[in-house]
């Protein structure tokens, strides 16, 4: 069981959701985040005063997947979120020890 954490362009969230749905992963959590990697942000000018907007808005998608689906899920995310330009984002895969369902209290696989 792994947690896949993908940081993607805000306008790519729907594409990623559709792509994950196609590899039969229905659940996901989405958070608005800000950050930068190689993409250094851009400059905003208000009445001649320049501001570096270095932290750009991104969306963070979290999805927990069984080990056998990790590769498919990562591939689906990368294909859906890619534009080829700097700033497309990152995907991290993190091991998950346990998972529980709050409604029933039972321990679950994914």
């Amino acid at each position: 069981m792994k947690l896949i954490k993908a940081i993607v362009r805000p306008n790519k969230v729907d594409d990623v959701r559709d792509a994950l749905g196609r590899v039969s992963l229905p659940g996901m959590t989405v958070t608005e985040v800000r950050g930068h990697g190689k993409q250094k942000g851009h400059t905003a000018i208000y009445r001649g005063k320049e501001y570096d907007v270095s932290l750009l808005p991104k969306m963070q998608i979290e999805v927990v997947v069984p080990d056998n689906l990790v590769d498919d899920a990562v591939a689906a995310i990368i294909t859906a979120a890619r534009t080829g330009e700097i700033g497309d984002g990152r995907v991290f895969v993190i091991p998950v020890e346990q998972s529980y369902r709050i409604r029933t209290g039972e321990r679950s696989e994914v």
């Binding site: 905003a44 000018i45 208000y46 009445r47 001649g48 005063k49 501001y51 570096d52």
Partner: protein, 470 residues
């Protein structure tokens, strides 16, 4: 002269019409009866003119109030950081209440009752003698109540403009005390000198140095703009300025505010004709055209030097043009108005983007860069482009119109404009320094560093502008 002549002509036409409308069999009216009829008609015509003028002036008064709230409050509110939104809006709104009370007690009297050449007296204190009868010195066709409340709206917005320079770091108590003192000791003398009967700079009612200021280039914009600079210097920079980014939190609010200002300015300038007449139409047109070219001027300068035309640039340019055309609006033709607007759009752009960073003062929302600079450009160019074709305000003893501005051949008007500008600068500079010092001693002016970092909304007012989290 002109309205009276027109009135007489109208009476004659109406009277002839009335006579012709009588059945042919009737005997011609005796002369005495005709006289009574004419007098009645005269009364009715006067009443009709008064109704029209009063309607326009009441609407204008409301339009000018709309410039402060919501116009200026939204314009400034959007330009500050989120944590100071309510604080700056509260400053504008509370002035709507405080200056109103002050106006009733002594403000109106100090501006418009007869006194010295510098300041009015107490003749109209507590609005004594201000009723439905017109004050013929200022506006013969509208109730003095209308004139009084219209002028009040100017007295409200002028100090509110200063809050653009003190934004995000001046305490509410300090703002209130300073603005009350400022209204009495800076605004009232200037308004009296320029617009009051017997004022030193009055152009038509016995001033020594007739300064042309149709709607408040000196009285409103230079005084507030220059005082804004003094305030910015006295208060010092906002904590973190200029290293920390302080971008406007919502240009959408500022955009709405600027549009309301543009519309409200028709009341401000065209209303300053104090009648619903041709001069009001002329001022309306000049106002609109200047705003248009100033928008284009600022945008073009920005596009050429910074690579992009911005929304904030467009609305800032419009306001700069409206400021600059204010003193000129009742004296200039549409094309010169466009020149004035263009000059202000480019001039204020330079002031705000280049001069400010070079001198390093923190005029947070550019009250000086727009109102001080735009007001000065406008007041000066009024002396250049004012013409008797638009407003034949100077007459020789025989009643023939005399040249008004430089383009009419009256070069000396430039000198008078400079005197008016200098007086406004001097009063604003000296008055603001003294009054800030007094305010600082009494209640304090500068918010603490903790207040600044937490935001004035929470620390001064105990509330936040946006509670968007669910």
């Amino acid at each position: 002269m002109k309205p009276a002549a027109g009135l007489a002509l109208l009476c004659v036409v109406l009277a002839v019409g009335a006579v012709q409308a009588q059945p042919p069999a009737a005997a011609p009216a005796p002369a005495a009866a005709m006289q009574t009829d004419l007098a009645k008609l005269d009364q009715r015509v006067t009443a009709a003119q008064s109704s029209a003028d009063n309607a326009w002036m009441l609407v204008s008064a409301a339009l000018v109030l709309m410039m402060t709230g919501p116009g200026l409050a939204l314009f400034y509110g959007g330009l500050v950081r989120q944590k100071n939104t309510l604080a700056i809006m509260m400053q504008s709104f509370s002035l709507m209440a405080i200056i109103t009370v002050l106006w009733a007690v002594v403000g109106y009297s100090l501006c418009f009752s007869e006194g010295t050449a510098i300041i009015g007296g107490f003749g109209h204190a507590l609005l004594r003698g201000v009723g439905v009868d017109p004050n013929a010195d200022y506006s013969a066709t509208i109730p003095q109540l209308t004139f009084m409340v219209y002028q009040l709206m100017f007295a409200i917005i002028t100090p509110a403009l200063i809050t653009g320079a003190t934004a995000e770091r001046m305490r509410f108590s300090g703002t209130v005390v300073f603005m009350v003192l400022w209204s009495l000791f800076v605004y009232a003398p200037l308004a009296h000198m320029v617009w009051g009967k017997g004022g030193l700079l009055n152009a038509t009612l016995g001033g020594r140095f007739p300064t042309l200021d149709f709607a408040g280039g000196t009285v409103v914009h230079i005084t507030s703009g220059v005082s804004a600079l003094v305030c910015a210097l006295y208060l010092g920079k906002r904590t973190g300025y200029p290293k920390e980014p302080m971008p406007p939190h919502s240009l959408v609010l500022s955009f709405i505010g600027a549009c309301l200002l543009w519309v409200g300015w028709f009341g401000f300038n065209a209303g300053s004709a104090l009648a619903s007449n041709g001069l009001a139409a002329s001022a309306f047109v000049a106002t609109h055209f200047a705003a248009a070219t100033a928008t284009i001027g600022w945008l073009a300068a920005e596009w050429m030097t910074r690579g992009r035309p911005s929304a904030l640039g467009a609305i800032s340019g419009a306001v700069a043009g409206l400021v600059a055309i204010t003193p000129a609006s009742g004296f200039v033709a549409p094309i010169p108005a466009m020149i004035i607007g263009l000059a202000a759009g480019i001039g204020c752009f330079v002031m705000v983007t280049i001069a400010k960073s070079r001198f390093g003062y923190d005029d947070a929302l550019d009250a000086f860069g727009v109102h001080g600079a735009g007001g000065t450009i406008g007041a000066l160019l009024t002396g250049v482009f004012a013409t008797q074709k638009v407003n034949p305000m100077f007459h020789d003893p025989q009643g023939r119109p005399l040249p008004v501005g430089l383009i009419d051949g009256n070069a000396s008007q430039i000198g008078n404009q400079l005197i008016g500008i200098a007086m406004a600068w001097a009063f604003a500079l000296v008055g603001s320094i003294v009054l800030l010092k007094i305010t600082d001693l009494v209640v304090g002016v500068r918010a603490s560093e903790e207040q600044e970092s937490e935001g004035l909304d929470l620390t001064e007012h105990g509330e936040e502008a946006y509670n968007l989290e669910m």
